[in-house]
Symmetry: D2
Subunit: 452 residues, 4 copies
């Protein structure tokens, strides 16, 4: 009996562009994107993936690549992969596709990643009203650990995971998506509650032929034109899973995905070496290329048995995830709180998004007292293994959200100190030249800890 070495179903050649890969990538959801391969249940297979920008971001000192990125040409994902049972019969609409993540990691020879904030005129982020400029931090990996020359004094093990994993939607589901997202796009003003400056962020990204990549379907053909005009962007998580950004979906986890079309058509991508809950800076995980080793199972009729539609049609479901015992664990946490009162002092009604924004801002400000700039901490909280919780959602008018940070990721004790306890001198940081920079006319951000 041969050992079950994973079969490579989607190889990536890092020297090639996303559209030049042998197994063609895609960056849209559509039922008619043809599968690139087929796997059997129980089989271990390997899927490689480019980083979410397909190599547009460089291991460099400048954030100019972040500032000027074309956000229509991103989120390249690997697949779709057709899944069949041991008799060769494909997964069918109404089944549940079980995907177990047996292993994952960076691609050999490409052990680095980046965390960035977009310019508020080009993408923005959760705190774009506070941090309007493009910044970038590079992370290098030492096995399971990551460190950044831009954020010295921090090192942590990654809870590595794919940011995006999902099945293909049916046409019916795709139409639902396009309809409801068009409504929010067209009817957006009333939704603008987080902060006025958010108006520069797109409310939704509707189908667009610009930058569209559809796997085996050749660009410019009539089929391509038709699909490109219908296919959903991959940015939000939806009923099919997709860009869920669940940071604990690491080794040993399982995903139970609803199947909407024959074969399930599993796609995955947007690998994260590590991410904080919320991925607040938007380009916020430690983004990297990588690989997954997966094993699938099919639960026949599982959608009806286990999922309950929550909406007008049977398609309004969500996947289920199972987290196992193998992730890094931390025992001490410092926890920051936010309530749904915004920075102007205005009261919002049980708004967890506002409360979480406040918790993140509180944490950034606190940590910046330990020798860091706020930009550094915004990047850090976006990508380190911090936990964002909804603590209270009923005590009107305040939602309470919390952000818990494992203290062990810092090389100094970041807890508040009683004046009576003698402590050692604050550690003097000696960072490299700070790449985490504003571009153009804006001055280079200095690390306050460095100049002190």
């Amino acid at each position: 009996m041969a050992p079950p070495t994973p079969r490579l179903v989607v190889p990536i050649d890092l020297k090639k562009k996303p559209w030049e890969q042998k197994s063609p990538l895609h960056n849209r959801w559509h039922p008619q994107i043809p599968p690139v391969d087929e796997v059997k249940v129980g089989e271990i297979f390997r899927v490689e993936m480019v980083d979410w920008t397909g190599g547009a971001i460089k291991d460099s000192d400048s954030a100019i690549d972040i500032k000027s990125i074309d956000l229509s040409r991103v989120h390249y994902i690997s697949g779709p992969i057709r899944v069949v049972d041991s008799d060769g019969i494909a997964a069918k609409p109404g089944d549940l596709l079980v995907v177990e993540i047996c292993n994952l990691g960076p691609l050999p020879g490409d052990e680095w990643g980046y965390t960035a904030t977009f310019d508020r005129e080009n993408g923005g982020g959760f705190l774009t009203d506070h941090f309007p400029c493009a910044t970038k931090a590079i992370w290098y990996f030492e096995g399971i650990y990551a460190y950044s020359p831009q954020i010295p004094g921090v090192r942590f093990p990654g809870i590595t995971h794919p940011g995006l994993i999902g099945t293909a939607p049916s046409m019916e589901l795709l139409n639902i998506w396009n309809k409801r997202e068009r409504e929010v796009e067209e009817n957006g003003i009333e939704s603008l509650k987080l902060c006025e400056v958010l108006h520069t962020r797109p409310l939704a990204s509707l189908p667009s032929t610009k930058g569209c990549l559809l796997g085996k379907i050749q660009e410019g053909t009539p089929t391509w034109e038709k699909i490109a005009r219908e296919a959903a962007r991959t940015i939000p998580g939806r009923e099919n899973g997709g860009n869920c950004d669940i940071k604990n979906l690491s080794r040993g986890s399982k995903v139970y995905l609803p199947v909407f079309i024959e074969g399930a058509n599993l796609s995955t991508g947007d690998m994260h070496f590590s991410q904080g809950d919320g991925e607040v800076s938007f380009c916020g995980a430690i983004e990297m290329s990588g690989f997954l080793e997966l094993k699938c199972d099919i639960i026949r009729g599982g959608m009806r048995e286990y999922l309950t539609p929550m909406g007008p049609t049977p398609l309004h479901v969500n996947p289920i995830f199972e987290i196992g015992p193998v992730e890094p664990r931390f025992s001490e946490w410092l926890v920051f709180e936010g309530i749904s009162v915004d920075e102007s002092g205005k009261q919002h009604y049980l708004d967890a998004s506002v409360a979480y924004k406040r918790a993140v801002l509180n944490a950034i400000d606190y940590l910046s007292k330990f020798g860091y700039s706020k930009e550094q901490m915004y990047l850090l909280l976006s990508c380190c293994p911090c936990e964002g919780r909804i603590s209270g959602i009923v005590d009107s008018p305040n939602a309470v959200a919390t952000l818990a940070i494992p203290t062990a990721i810092f090389d100094q004790d970041i807890r508040p100190k009683s004046n009576k306890v003698p402590v050692g001198p604050r550690i003097v940081r000696k960072p490299d030249v700070l790449k985490c920079s504003y571009d153009g006319n804006l001055p280079i951000t200095k690390n306050p800890g460095a100049s002190a």
Copy 2:
């Protein structure tokens, strides 16, 4: 040297009403509520507390007490306690008060609690549009474990914590609270996004003399009248901590509270044997009477050193919490996801509250397939040690929230099963008479698992 047996600074006699206790309780925030005692830093002291309703809810079969509760007469808290340093000098505005939770638990002889959902006309809850009727489950404690005759087949260790802990506000801060909450109360319609039926929930609870209890200040006196008209309700968490409902604030944790008035005036109450993140049913933890053993420290000038105001005044701060290594840990979790598309199919823009509501509804529906009614699961998810996370808050238009449930709290395997794995018979539940009941003309909810 004598062992440091905790000094009892607030005793509770469970046979007395909240307003009859020897150390008078209060249920409002106001700087002029006089301290009931004084503690020194480093001293271990014990604070006892009534359950948040002060005994209004009974260990009984009927939810009639929940349905008819007077919500103006609740949230009785113990204190205020004045804190001084080892030289007898009081904590001062601008200091940080460090409160360490050395131990806590139920009051001896009162080892039980309850979880309930309010009637939508009287309090409601996060899912009141789905669960409009009053229900109640009683929990009995076996040491660190809780079980409920109303929700058979579930037993879990509590991460016991005080739902409410905070310092007294200054008049300036109190005025800020009253102003901003009045605005949301008066200007409420535009805030109503969660669901239309929410309109029956109060948007904010403004100061009111009705049901007001002010410690040593005698009801009906002019001083009482003045303070009662100004004093803030204790329902929401705010800058002073208060009703934060942080479910991990258990043994070994620390709270760093801002000090707004001389002496700090620490108050605490609303003990929870256990709570899920969000406390979704509103009366949602396992509510009980209890005790805390606390130790305080003062960080002089700590507000300026460690907290950053986030708003128009230096008072717009939030406490910091520190979680230690001694809480129950679970290694396997089943995770439900929600996106910010509501039950009608409408798309909301990055709204974590809507996304969390969907995640909770998804979990309730899933678990109800294992022999439970949905009402039972709503109560369970409100009080068991489940984790509510903000997983994605940037991938417009969908916020992604997750609810993670430790699988070990069930006596059956609740994971989805592949059709190919032979499993044992679904466990037949034999619950007691189900007390978790609709009142009035509504029929008693049957446990579907029982009749199957």
Copy 3:
């Protein structure tokens, strides 16, 4: 339905001597010691217990009480408790008695304990050849935490547990014990491998009427004389459980005890606030009085179904334990190793006891470099939540044992430092007068850190 407040079946009055307690204690194992009470399966009941010396050791500066203790008058345990099923039918030989530890802790008003090393002429300990003198450290409790004026700079949460829990032996089993232990006592020289100085330690403690306490059986009567001459000492763990000193047997754990006589006759005592694996100093846990809240079940015929005799008779079995999810967890550990080469350089063959002795000695020496005396660290490793592992038991000639210490219990970073990392100044310790003392003519041990 009444809440299940634990019924107090064994009360302790700390102002009384062990032989004066209302529910009479015992300090021997014998089938004819009569039960003090009866409990039903499913019932929650409370058992209180004196510390293992019954109050002989004082919260004082001197170790004279340790030096001069009468070791024949110790190990007072509470019970026996007869266990019956819901029909009132007693547990029977061949059953398994399931004992769940629902809660436990120190007795209110007695929140302190002690760790000690005996004089080598009176008890000794694992390292008595290195540490021949009596020493004592007092520990005070702050809720779940313990600290000692004698070992400043250390504070940790206790994994509190009963050191001793067991069922009564049958006469047949008792005879087996007495026979085999008499053989080792009489035939002892060849067993003396650990170290020559060990010869001052008793090889076994055979039945003796001296200091014997037998519960309800009055001293001096013929029955007492007979039983006292037969009854086994309680020092070693044996087939009935007994003094197992399993340090993780805390809240939420279960013990599956074999039943040898009708009613099972459960006894328990020797409460430990905390203990390290091995309890190396012999009086080595944080010894205290305390209480247990227990719940029993009976597995009829469970001995035959679950336990396999390992010896000449069906009685040669051992209990099984189940550890739950509620103990304190630590995420970083410093691990010391020992091999089975003793301090003289002599090679022993796969001897885990010698290897563990080396590991403990290595740890003591290492930690003493951080401002402590070796006596302090010997006491600490005996009682803090450190883990003693048998890592390798097959690679002849060396057994490898390890001792893992959670780094978080120290207020300084105890890891080895690279010369290149700038570190803060070594913390200056300001201990109280050091009670951890040699008696008689030996000088008081100074804490090196204090005088530095």
Copy 4:
């Protein structure tokens, strides 16, 4: 700046024999085995390694390869690797070499391993008197998980680690080893306490030219002859680390190794996908080929600063290990106990080896009641992530050892069941043909669960 892709300093070609590898391997400890490469502190480098037998054991149905293995030709390790600081100055005797394990795993394309018991006439093991025949189980890896066709119903994540890591001894230390091990070999009878049948196990493996591999030193040369006659076997762990078999030495751990010769000469090998504490079956981990990604640091003078000699010379030291937060964690454990009374009923004096043997035997017998043969469980307990603890080492005459097994590794509930709880049917196992076999004339072991 280039990302720090690990430099490959020891490559392995699995199609070649150990003595044919490009970077020559060795299987002895000697200061004069020349380094195969040099690394700088801070550099990430990759070391590949054969399995400990160098490919002698096959992925096959038969245990004949185990039965007939030549144990003089084993334990091939990679290195030595010379370590220098950033100025190129080598590690010196008296320094501490810090080795951080950044990552590790099986070699790509070779994702399988084996666990075996040797024949008692050829190697034996901890329980060779109970299990005298050669058996073998093959394990296949699915990413971080392992499963075995020979032990169906079990699957667990590996805490992967190198069984062997160490520095080269100086001649002085080597002489100490040879002298003391010769003494135990020559003076062995009195050491034979575990069990009489152990006499067939070698007491020590003294230097021997047979099967000796010495890296770059060519076999048959005078230098080879001299070194081969002096060089220590690699089986036991010793002062230099070596074959410590510390099962938690996984990703994120650090080893602090004493340096005895210039350059430190680090060697490593004997990769384990997973191992139980004690590695009881001797060939007991899941043995495999693999790779390590390492990073070194040098603490100048660290031996004197941090290690304390425990013996006649300054060389009698042991390494220190640091375990990090990234290993798999389990929350429920079933714990088996053993006391130092052997299977014949004979009492031993505080003998942890005997106690652990009893604990392991108890566990094997217990687990065999769940559809397994005892041979299967002996193999399982040798390689699954179970914890072997020294619980009590002072309560004469009984040492108490415990073996804790994480319940989650089984696909059935292995806890004892109360007769009153209805449980599902015992799972029917359908193993593959059982390879776990006695060879020669002995019958194939049947899995009792399979034939039931």
